[in-house]
Amino acid sequence: MAEIIRNGALHADDWEVLRLAEGQDAATVEVEHGRWIVPLAVWQAQREHLAARAEAGVLGVWLAGSDDPAQLADDLVRLQLVAVDFPKFADGRGYSIATLLRARLGYGGELRAIGNVLRDQFFFYLRCGFDVIQPQPGKYSAAQLQAALASLADFSEPYQGAVDRAEPLFRRVRREVRA
């Protein structure tokens, strides 16, 4: 079972990410029993068939960096888990996608960062509205993840607003005026 970070603590987790292999068809690929996070294309192709599992909270959908989150707009009310994939940790599209899901589309369910998610970016994921971070299995030891929890609070009072704290510093606090 994988270790994930949820709301600042470690949890065991049995969600699996379905990735289409070369030649697999989104319309016909079988989503087995269990908790699966499926690609947007699979969700769109098999929505009727998968909707009940989504509403039961055992099926989620993940977006790639090239996916427009607005494509999920009508589904967000029934989805309890949406994930955003980071194909490379340096590919920052996921930060904007997460921000749009939360701030623009009003998504309130679980938002999970998956893929090549590294501990030195955990702070940024949280700020952009992810509440669950799922590093690749085996990437970190439990001890390393435990140590990484501290980095979630690297910066205690960030300047700009983001999903976690919408108001920028100048609205949150009264800053000193020079004497």
Partner: protein
């Protein structure tokens, strides 16, 4: 200038702790090279030819005396006793040890400095006019806006991993002294017809491999909305900028691919959602930041100082320095002084630890303790009494910072080049030094007049060669260093990209090539015409013809010598 409050200080201190831990994990083998790279780059740390290079941020080029002393201390303790000012108003150390960098950052934090986002694919240090607040042609002081943009962009969580680097510059005067047309976002402060403050916004400018002049995306964005508007631009870029090819990843490529109209449409659509949101600036916040840039306590002085005029009349070297290195000031009886970091034989922008301390002292004695860095790699004492200029000059001269060459041929902009930089195809500094040596005669230099010569060691264009009146670009030809020459580039309100004059030259030819260009100018110029004006009037042809004719003659001579 801006002073940190507890929040600013805490962010910088937290950054030091974060990077200390990251460096520890890297050295312990817990972080791979690939994973550590963006982390160190976002702290300005490059792995260079000889040693790491650390780039320290100087937001919009403002420094105070205590910071200069700290830079001197770092140069002495962790480096080889000198530092290098860059074309983006930052400062670089060329020889620190990786394991010392957390300690260097901790030292910097004690004087309200940092290296945050001085490299990497993120929003870089914001730059501005080095004469902000003192120039007569200024409508609105850009420094508070530089600080507001700095705070907004610092650790912006959505834009920490952009497709490529992202540079913002702010200008607030009639003359653009911040090269805003060559930035990813150029912010031009202005008043609208009703007298309200806002920004003309340029987007998609940049030099580098594909030089492009920025285009206007918005004629006027009211100040309240400028951060939301920038956020809209950045979001469109972050989502749609190319990530498949490093050389096509800058925003300028996206703007060109979509066309400015379509890009504007996408930004406006995004802005419609963000406008009036929490990022909307408040009068209180702008006033809080702006008060840090209130005028210092100027004395009431006569417009022109009689002693200054008398000294100029009796002392020719002082008069030459006053003509080239002293600029008019908005206040009666004051002047701004440019300290030249371009004496012959020194790498442009280099300064020793002793000189840094000397400048700190002079700033305290003569200029309210503050110094600015120019993107031409010189320093400015912005607020000097005219009555003090002679005394100041004597001390600046003793410190070897009084070369009277500001704006002249030997005031060369140059990147560190192949002597230091891993990216470079060719060396820059020896070329700059050879040209300086050739044109070392001051009377000749004055006769040639205003001209900008910029050198880059590769097409990344850190030396801004595209916008030099004469531009020199180092290129690699089968493992050898060659130099391509452009003429007709310019910065400022009439920003233009230079045109290549023809085949490239060997390093040893460069002083001759520049001399050929100058000789054509001296023959063809009209009265009061600068080099660039003559190039614009007569075109590149006479210059090309002369350069290659004289080159052929030199090669012929060399052949004769070789053959006896």
């Amino acid at each position: 200038m801006y002073k940190y409050d507890e929040y600013d200080q805490r962010i910088v201190d937290e950054r030091v702790a974060q990077f200390r831990d990251q460096t520890r994990r890297y050295l312990a083998g817990e972080l791979s090279d690939d994973e550590f790279r963006p982390l160190r780059l976002q702290n300005g740390l490059y792995i260079q030819r000889h040693a790491p290079m650390l780039r320290v941020a100087i937001p919009y080029g403002n420094l105070r005396a205590a910071q200069l002393r700290k830079l001197a201390h770092i140069a002495r303790t962790y480096d080889r006793g000198y530092a290098h000012f860059t074309t983006r108003q930052n400062v670089q150390f060329n020889w620190p040890k990786l394991e010392d960098v957390p300690e260097i950052l901790a030292e910097l934090a004690t004087v309200q400095m940092h290296a945050i986002q001085t490299s990497g694919s993120c929003i870089r240090n914001v730059t501005s006019d080095p004469f902000a607040g003192v120039a007569g042609d200024e409508h609105i002081d850009p420094r508070p806006w530089g600080e507001i943009v700095r705070q907004w962009s610092t650790f912006h969580p959505e834009f920490a991993f952009l497709p490529r680097k992202f540079k913002i510059a702010v200008n607030g005067a009639a003359e653009d002294r911040a090269v805003i047309q060559a930035h990813d976002i150029g912010l031009d402060l202005k008043h609208d017809a009703a007298g309200r403050i806002g920004f003309r916004v340029l987007v998609g400018g940049g030099l580098g491999r594909t030089p492009i002049i920025g285009e206007e995306i918005a004629a006027f964005v009211p100040w309240q909305h400028i951060l939301s508007y920038c956020e809209a631009i950045l979001r469109v870029y972050n989502l749609h900028g190319r990530r498949d090819n490093l050389y096509k990843a800058r925003i300028k490529i996206l703007v060109k691919a979509l066309g400015i109209e379509e890009f504007r449409r996408q930004v406006d659509a995004e802005f419609a959602h963000l406008k009036d949101g929490p990022a909307t600036l408040t009068e209180a916040e702008v006033a809080r930041v702006a008060q840090h840039f209130d005028d210092p306590e100027y004395a009431e002085l006569p417009a022109a100082d009689a002693g200054f005029a008398a000294r100029k009349a009796e002392n020719k070297p002082f008069a030459a320095w006053a003509k080239r290195n002293v600029r008019a000031h908005k206040r009666a009886g004051y002047a701004s002084v440019v300290l030249s970091l371009k004496p012959t034989g020194v790498a442009p922008g280099d300064i020793s630890a002793e000189q840094l301390e000397r400048v700190a002292e002079l700033a305290e004695r003569y200029s309210f303790g503050e110094v600015r860095v120019t993107h031409e790699q010189n320093l400015v004492l912005a607020d000097v009494r005219q009555a003090d200029l002679f005394e100041l000059w004597q001390q600046v001269r003793d410190a070897r910072l009084a070369t009277p060459n500001i704006g002249l041929l030997t005031d060369i902009i140059s990147c560190p080049g192949g002597d230091f930089c891993n990216l470079a195809n060719a060396k820059s500094i020896p070329i700059a030094n050879a040209i300086q040596a050739r044109f070392d005669d001051l009377d000749y230099l004055f006769d040639i007049g205003e001209i900008e010569l910029n050198i880059s060691g590769c097409m990344n264009a850190c030396g801004h060669h595209h916008v030099g009146h004469i531009g020199v670009l180092g290129v690699d030809k089968n493992g050898e260093e060659w130099y391509q020459v452009t003429i007709g580039g310019s910065q400022g309100n009439h920003t233009a990209l230079g045109k290549v004059i023809g085949p490239s030259f060997a390093a040893h030819e460069m002083p001759d090539v520049v001399e050929s260009l100058i000789s054509v100018y001296l023959e063809l110029r009209h009265a009061d015409e600068r080099f660039i004006d003559t190039v614009r009037r007569v075109g590149a042809e006479p210059f090309k013809t002369r350069v290659y004719a004289e080159r052929a003659a030199r090669l012929e001579d060399e052949r004769k010598v070789v053959n006896g």
